[in-house]
């Protein structure tokens, strides 16, 4: 778009009025803000002794989990759509023929590099079977890089750990599965 484009409206800056030129009223209004924050309640949390309050767990984007179906099997069908959608290329899946008759393939291995992940939630959005979800777990620590590459078992255990506090999102968000 060029500066001469007719869809651009150019505005002139208004000349300063008497109050602005006196400087004092603006000075007072600034100091008022400062004073208000001095007396208002504190919002800083002393993490980790104090836990921050997560707003809506349905839309919070924390550590991933792999959901299980009714029979306790991994829900994932190894379609690679999360890996395709992932902008950080942190998901690595090896697909294999599924041992169960009701589905064609399943993930033989499923790795997420939590250090590489940018927690954008695209994987969750891409998943056609609501198998991968982001929980509201937010403190993610580990002693080595290897430890931070979560495998299938680890991701399933995150589900086991969080399933009571956070049921599968799909029902609440109008999912079909």
């Amino acid at each position: 778009m060029k500066p001469t484009d007719p869809s651009i409206t150019w505005l002139e800056e208004k000349p300063l009025g008497l109050a602005e030129r006196l400087y004092l009223p603006l000075f007072v209004s600034g100091l008022t803000t400062t004073a208000r924050h001095l007396v208002s309640p504190k919002v800083t949390v002393s993490f980790p002794e104090q836990r921050p309050k997560v707003g809506n767990p349905l839309i919070y984007r924390g550590v991933h989990r792999l959901n299980r179906d009714d029979e306790g099997r991994v829900k994932c069908v190894a379609c690679f759509l999360c890996a395709t959608a992932c902008p950080a290329h942190c998901i690595d899946i090896v697909a294999a023929e599924s041992p169960w008759p009701d589905r064609e393939k399943y993930p033989e291995s499923f790795h997420i590099d939590e250090l590489r992940c940018i927690f954008c939630g695209m994987c969750e959005e891409a998943c056609p079977v609501d198998a991968i979800e982001l929980t509201s777990l937010l403190d993610l620590t580990g002693k080595s890089r290897e430890e931070m590459i979560f495998d299938k078992e680890k991701l399933l255990s995150v589900y086991d750990m969080t399933k009571d506090a956070e049921p599968m999102k799909s029902a609440a968000l109008g999912g079909t599965l």
Binding site: V77, E97, E104
Partner: protein, 543 residues
Amino acid sequence: MPVVIVDGQEIEIGADERLNCIEAARRAGKEIPHYCWHPGLSVVASCRMCLIETGQRDAATGKITMVPKLVPGCQTPVKDGTVIVTESETVKASRARVEEALLIDHPIDCPICDKAGECLLQDYHFQHGQPERRADLHPFSSRKRDVGPTVTLFVDRCIMCTRCVRFTREVAGTAELMVTSRGAKEEIDVFPGHPLDNKLAGNVVDLCPVGALGDKDFLYQQRVWFLKREANVCGGCAAGCSIHTEHNQDTVYRLKPRENPHVNTWWMCDEGRYGWHHLHDPARVLEAGRRADHARGSKAAFEPVEWAEVVTRLRSDLKQAGRLAVAVSPFLTVEEAWMLCGIARSIDPEAFLAPGFVPVAGDDETFPGGFTIRGEKCPNRRGVEGVLAQFNAGGRSWGDLLAHVAAGQADAAWITGGYPTPWLDDVTAGMFAALKAVVVQDLFDSPLTAHATWRLPAAGFAERAGTWVNVAHRAQCFEAAIRAPAGVWPEGRLYWNMLGRRGLYDPTAVRRQIAESSAAFAALAGDVPAVGIDLRIQQLAST
């Protein structure tokens, strides 16, 4: 010249060309969607996707009379004055209805379907389908049926175009596949006890416009949108089929035939299709090694040598040994063979040059559709022989080289390979035991390795760049699809450096040089089209 009018655009076609509406429209840049029609198979006009409006322009008055109903484009030949309308509202509505009808019985399991991303049903739905689905969704899975050792059929995904059935009947001539039941219950199946196991079986997977036929070798390995493709040439036999090597992160996942009317038309054989697994075999020779003369025959290991050192030391070793004999493998490209001969003659001006061993397995096998699998299991015998003729070593064979060595006329030998399968017996290999220096450059260890003083790795077919000349003297140029494994210099790179040339190995520069210096390869002087060049025709034209 006959004139065809496609959507108001007049195009000329050849006087004796027999085109249908799809082909004629393609000339005008209009793609008519189709499932069941394939240029290499008979016409059945069963999918109804290519329905279009046609008419005829009266030559005398110029008045156009349209056919009152839609006709299948695949079945309607064009002639002078044929009018084709591919974009009218009637045609569009018809396509949307066909798409809807096909999708009623389709499981829509695209996320777990291996065809997703290269599926015509998917593509056409986005291009020609309607956004809303009026039918219920079927279960999110497809019944699976084993139809042969390499092919799996996903029954519910099939749209009954019968391309696969026609292929086995018309091209492979084995007719394993058939249609069972009738109407809405139609299914593809094999006759009991007769699985789909002919040598061209893999082509039915390429032909399948949807995800119904899956290649067991590729199934679940990789989603197709991760794959990158490089135009390559199959190194499995002397036919030199044009292929696409599909790879990701330097790993080959599958080979697909590339259309080339002069070589393989649309097909390739299963032997070639699955003949890439040796590229990733852990047993491959992966580093250059040298050992002293006295250590041969024993189990003494090769000492690894840096490639920069190989370039100088190999030359001095061979020079020291004396009279040189070189086997130029039929797996080398023309460029590599030419450089190798040049190096050999610069080391020993009297060097004995001969073609390497030519593996042969049975006779040529021609199928009813005209496709031929060659018995000669190497891609470039013609090219190597042409290069050798240029170095006054024409008309020789691997046997001549063995006789030359047996007669004690050589002190050193440089045996190039690239053979994906074992090719040499212990007795033949033993003939090289007495030589002072033996350089073995091959993909895998062979009995010859025991007698080698130098062991050099070779590149696999997808790792080479250059030109191969097939059985019909057609030269096809190609680039490397993947990089050779770490530690391996492809032959071209080694020879390029041994010749003291600067920069990266450039097969095109070498090719130009060969074309300038040789009448046999003169046709390669300019840019070579993707379908290759017939060297003989160019020779006839130049004489």
